[in-house]
């Protein structure tokens, strides 16, 4: 076992650091939901990433990627979080939709969709969850019925990040109501500008609208805009969701590392009387505990990444990444909030650290729900990792 970079990784990290030093000033500053101007800056930043070879790092070269190892992807995630720059705007496309098209798409689909996705000329969103299909994803009811050369789609999708700016959507629909639950699903590529598509922001408890609802009313999707065959939608969707794991955890831990550094800086700062919140033994102990947890998670993610590289599939440790990250993120936000007292209630640019902590406290409630609730993740660990009998 070796934790340090091998020569190739070290070279990659050094080049990346130099590039970030020279280019980080072009990165948009994102606090909360980006406005139109910030979105333009983010698009420009994403193109800059692409031109420098930092988009699609692990994608195969024939799909326009860099063909590099997952370790290089991890290095990008660590270093970009450290530099405080955002990832590619097309995060759903580069991380999920693109690899799914790469795995299931026809040559024509790959040629059509992958290059503009990496160049950030087209943005993707994900239409999986529905108001009545959250954890029980295979119960989706949005219907697609074949009518001549097109699937006619009716239904509603929810929790779709970036849907308001997206050009395309990977859509999970029911094409066979008589088949068993998982076998009746299909996977379509939806043009978000098609007639009958409306999007509506979903305002969250933070006050912001990061997620979008998509309403589909008689939308016609060309028959060939499907990944896999009719009835294979569940398998295709699993490809999409498996890309939520893998290296994803490394990025989450790197972000948490940055958050924890910010918290240590804030709570370790002395006030006019020379006091600092971190002098409180309970605050101090909690900071230490979060530090220990962060490192445990960081190394666990690197173990999962190593297993992924060796065996081609993430090991059982990979299930830990999101489960623990979400809880740690909540605990960190709560710790800072509690330590700040009433100052933690202030929001906006004049608040402590620009309001990042009051926002984090509220936003982090969603962390244990989105992309697999903690309850579902624990059930996955119990049944698939520990081999306990099914609860259903």
């Amino acid at each position: 076992m070796e934790l340090r970079d091998d020569p190739e990784e070290a070279r990659y990290r050094a080049e990346l650091r130099a590039w970030l030093d020279a280019n980080a000033r072009h990165a948009p500053r994102l606090d909360g939901e980006p406005d139109a101007r910030q979105l333009d800056a983010w698009r420009a930043w994403s193109r800059r990433l692409h031109d420098a070879g930092y988009a699609g790092i692990t994608w195969p070269r024939e799909h326009g990627g860099q063909g590099r190892s997952a370790a290089c992807q991890a290095i990008w995630l660590e270093e970009s979080a450290r530099a405080g720059v955002p990832d590619h705007l097309g995060i759903i496309g580069v991380g999920m939709a693109g690899p799914t098209i790469g795995a299931w798409g026809s040559e024509r689909q790959k040629r059509r969709f992958l290059p503009p996705l990496l160049r950030c000329e087209e943005i993707w969103c994900q239409g999986f969850s529905e108001p009545d299909s959250g954890s029980d994803l295979a119960s989706v009811r949005t219907r697609a019925v074949l009518d001549g050369d097109a699937w006619v789609v009716d239904g509603q999708k929810v929790w779709s990040s970036y849907a308001h700016v997206a050009d395309w959507c990977v859509l999970l629909v029911r094409t066979d109501r008589d088949a068993p639950k998982h076998a009746g699903l299909s996977y379509l590529l939806l043009d978000m500008r098609a007639e009958g598509v409306t999007v509506q922001p979903l305002r969250q408890l933070t006050g912001e609208a990061e997620f979008i609802e998509i309403f589909l009313d008689g939308v016609r999707i060309p028959r060939e805009s499907m990944l896999g065959r009719p009835g294979e939608g569940w398998a295709v969707a699993m490809t999409t969701l498996s890309h939520e794991r893998g290296t994803h955890g490394v990025g989450l831990a790197a972000q948490l590392d940055a958050e924890l550094r910010a918290a240590v800086a804030l709570l370790g700062r002395r006030d006019a009387h020379g006091r600092r919140p971190a002098d409180d033994p309970l605050v101090r102990d909690a900071l230490a505990e979060l530090t220990v947890e962060l490192h445990a998670l960081r190394i666990t993610n690197l173990r999962a990444l190593s297993a992924l590289r060796r065996d081609g599939a993430p090991g059982p440790e990979a299930t830990i990444a999101k489960l623990r990250w979400s809880e740690l993120n909540q605990r960190l936000a709560a710790l800072v909030g509690d330590a700040l007292g009433p100052a933690a209630l202030e929001r906006g640019a004049d608040a402590v650290d620009g309001g990042r902590w009051s926002f984090a406290r509220l936003r982090s409630r969603g962390n244990t729900i989105e992309a697999g609730t903690s309850e579902i993740l624990r059930t996955i660990v119990a049944e698939r990792v520990l081999g306990l009998p099914s609860s259903r």
Binding site: M1, R261, V264, L287, A288, L323, A382
Partner: protein, 388 residues
């Protein structure tokens, strides 16, 4: 970066599991543990033969010259089997002190299985934590140099692991206000070992009275403090590895039981109240395992390139591993007992054996809050949360 085990590390673990399964089946372990002096002396020559005792000993002294990581694998497996032999005392506590002091002959003797040893650091009236071993209050025992690299030592030490199963003690004492380390034969005149009645019969503790006992002077002053630092880093990492071995073993037992035991017509493991609790134990085991790997790699790296400074990374890694793995093992045992229900609270159930070892490991360096305090010192001092 590659955190998958090498073929060699895999083979080492497999060999350890095979040996321990053959020599230390559960029935044998429980029978031994219930004897008054329930050690397993027969296994020691075999451990020497297999190279377990010289893993971290340089090849020129008859060892394998491998790293701390390889030792963590052996200690993890031996704790999973609760091997009742002074392996931790010899390899984790005494050997690093002997190596740091450059005591080549005793080091070679350890590797060959001719010398079993332990560390006597705690003073009955002092701070018993291993981390405090070089602090003045842990060194009430006084040494008097007698020339020729020898000294005599007098005083009381307590909670000495496996003192009744070893050939020699590395004694932490004091001379002229400085810490000193001595290697004292257990059967020397002036050495009285009094076994203590403690809960973990697989790793007995003893009080040791020293009255002008003669020993070899290993190190003094800064060299003694440095040797104790090395002991601390290695022993806490290896204790954390033992904790992982224990937690994994009781998790396996609890999962097996939850799959078999039926109530209300279903296996109890199908209830999410049970399954989710065990999922949490699994997460804790894996997180602890990661910290052990990090600590072992960081301690080895710090030792290999001294020019890079004392290795703040290693300090943070060791403190993190100790802060997490020991409480995690205790909690895993407690959860396993709960999942087993009434039967888990009986003497007949083997669970209490691991629980008691977990409690002993948690006591090695005082409460986990102490390790966390160390982490806080490191983090708040450098203003950042992570490694260099």
């Amino acid at each position: 970066m590659d955190l998958t085990p090498t073929d060699e590390q895999r083979a080492l673990r497999e060999a350890a599991r095979e040996l321990l399964a053959a020599r230390m089946p559960l029935a044998r372990l429980t029978a031994l543990a219930d004897e008054p002096a329930g050690g397993e002396p027969a296994i020691w020559p075999e451990l020497a033969e297999l190279g377990w005792l010289g893993v971290s000993v340089p090849e020129r002294l008859g060892g394998a010259g491998m790293g701390l990581l390889e030792e963590t694998i052996l200690l993890e497996e031996s704790a999973a089997a609760l091997l009742p032999a002074p392996l931790f005392a010899t390899v984790a506590l005494a050997l690093p002190a002997l190596l740091a002091a450059g005591a080549e002959e005793p080091v070679a003797a350890v590797a060959q299985g001719r010398l079993r040893a332990t560390l006597a650091w705690a003073d009955p009236d002092g701070d018993a934590a291993l981390s405090e071993a070089s602090a003045p209050r842990a060194q009430a025992a006084a040494a008097v140099s007698a020339g020729d690299g020898e000294a005599t030592v007098s005083g009381r030490k307590t909670w000495v692991p496996d003192a009744d199963r070893v050939d020699a003690l590395v004694v932490v004492a004091r001379e002229a206000g400085e810490p000193v380390l001595l290697l004292v034969g257990r059967d020397e005149p002036g050495v009285a070992v009094r076994p203590l009645a403690t809960v973990d019969a697989t790793r007995p503790l003893a009080a040791v009275e020293l009255e002008g006992a003669r020993g070899r002077l290993l190190a003094r002053g800064a060299a003694a403090a440095a040797a104790l630092e090395r002991v601390r880093a290695r022993a806490l990492t290896l204790a954390a590895a033992e904790a992982v071995g224990i937690a994994q073993r009781v998790l396996d037992l609890a999962c097996a039981y939850a799959g078999e035991r039926r109530q209300f017509g279903r296996p109890i493991g199908s209830y999410q109240a049970v399954g989710h609790a065990l999922a949490d134990v699994y997460v804790e085991v894996e997180l602890s395992r990661s910290l052990v790997v990090w600590a072992a790699l960081a301690v080895d790296a710090a030792q290999h390139d001294r020019e890079r400074g004392p290795g703040a990374d290693a300090e943070l890694a060791v403190a993190s591993a100790a802060a997490k793995a020991m409480p995690a093992a205790v909690a895993a045992c407690e959860r396993a007992i709960q999942v087993h229900g009434g039967i888990g609270t009986t003497w007949e159930s083997p669970l209490h054996r691991w629980y008691k070892r977990a409690l002993a490991l948690a006591a090695l360096d005082g409460p986990a809050a102490r390790s966390r305090a160390r982490v806080a010192d490191l983090v708040l001092a450098d203003g950042g949360a992570t490694r260099s």
